[in-house]
Amino acid sequence: MDKALLIQLGGSAAGIAVLVGFTAWMGVARPTPPLDAESARALLALEFPDQRPDRVWISADGAAVIARDGDAALVLYRRGDGYVARDLPWSAIASLKPINGRVRPRLSDARPVFAVKDDVWPPREFA
């Protein structure tokens, strides 16, 4: 490979690292406080406007929400300083097994970790 090109690539990669480091240092991400009942409901209404979940569970660390709407599970979890929304069959959620206070639902492109209180699943919100 051409030496000048290698230097250019190396320089660019170093520049990216510096800029990313600067971003981290400045700390300008959106604030994402733990979700409570009100903020979880608001987020569900935004992401699933056509559904009316009757039961809602918020993870122990406030970083995720699972809601049940009939046979569908509406899942929200924090990714970076935003939230990812997915819907999946309720059976996929009901069959989760907590391990060390965590459940890990299998989504099409991720396996997020949800904190569970007392290793009880399904939680009492879904009982």
């Binding site: 690539l9 990313v20 300008v28 991400a29 406007p49 990714r79 970076g80 935003g82 929304a85 492109d109």
Partner: protein, 304 residues
């Protein structure tokens, strides 16, 4: 002239970096609306670098094809005439509009362009989140008619670069609105925020490069309204920050769909993103229809 004597994008890179630093500082000290998430920013910047490499790898094919077309041109347009630059500005911008519209409305080209929209942020680093697979997708073919008309390939390349540089500064929340006359004619941060929004009301709108007049002419213009702030990203945001997933996820999605039902291959490839034979998935069209039903809006008025 065949090869451009300079690349506006390369020349603008120091400005890009300084502008990003400035936007972060303004956000940090509360002087402007700007949010940067570390992994999101890393993805955007790395996508920009990767796009340059991918462009260099595919550049030879594109350049050779463009020169071949130019050799069979209808007219010879001088590169040193003012009227020729005005003409290439307008025609290149019109070409960009249609390229961009196709890139959103047909899945095979969306697969290449979606990477630019996967950030849930809207800041200057998002502008650098460029495709790696544009060469393969073949959208560059849309610019060949300009060379066939007789615009020198260098002239077209420079104008494309100018358009890309112009589009950098509009990727920001720091600027709310430009003066009315400017908003009427040019693409602005406000217009382009709408383009990057995932709110149903804003989907498939504002495809302009430099001039917003094309959207106004072709009925794809939607104004930003203060009562509905833009939420950024794709309709179904990515579940992770994996760079390769970001680049290839829609291509993989197409391959899986086609392999699962080859007789519907044309629909999966050339249909709108979200198309499915049984209509079980959402397209922009169905999402907008559901939104209109929810808000009770007149389906012919996209402004409400």
């Amino acid at each position: 002239m065949l090869k451009a004597p300079f690349d506006p994008v390369q020349l603008a890179i120091p400005f890009f970096i300084l502008a990003i630093v400035l936007e972060i500082l303004l956000g940090r000290f509360g002087k402007a609306r700007a949010h940067y998430e570390v992994r999101d920013t890393a993805t955007s910047l790395t996508m920009g670098l990767g796009s340059t490499i991918a462009g260099a790898l595919f550049g030879g094919v594109i350049f050779a094809t463009t020169v071949w077309v130019y050799q069979h041109r209808l007219f010879t347009i001088p590169m040193n005439a003012v009227w020729a630059w005005i003409a290439v500005f307008l025609l290149e911008d019109l070409t960009y509009y249609w390229f961009h519209r196709l890139a959103h409305e047909r899945r095979v080209w969306w697969a290449s362009h979606v990477n630019h929209h996967t950030s849930t942020h809207y800041n200057l680093s998002t502008a650098l989140r460029q495709t790696w697979t544009g060469g393969v997708a073949g959208t560059w073919l849309l610019w060949l008619p300009l060379s066939f008309l007789g615009f020198p390939p260098a002239m077209v390349a420079i104008q494309k670069g100018i358009s890309l540089v112009y589009q950098f500064w509009i990727h920001t929340e720091a600027i709310k609105r430009m003066p009315g006359w400017f908003e009427a004619v040019f693409n602005t941060p406000s217009h382009h925020r709408v383009h990057h929004a995932r709110n149903a009301r804003y989907l498939d709108a504002n495809y302009a490069g430099i001039l917003i007049i094309w959207d106004r002419m072709f009925g794809t213009f939607i104004p930003e309204v203060d009562e509905e702030p833009c939420r950024y990203g794709t309709v179904k945001n990515l579940g992770n920050f994996n760079l390769l997933h970001n680049v290839f996820h829609e291509w993989i999605g197409i391959a899986k769909d086609v392999a699962g039902s080859p007789r519907h291959a044309l629909g999966y490839i050339f249909g709108p993103p979200g198309w499915s034979p049984d209509g079980s998935r959402d397209t922009s069209h169905t999402l907008k229809a559901k939104w209109r039903a929810r808000v009770g809006a007149d389906s012919t008025d996209q402004r409400i």
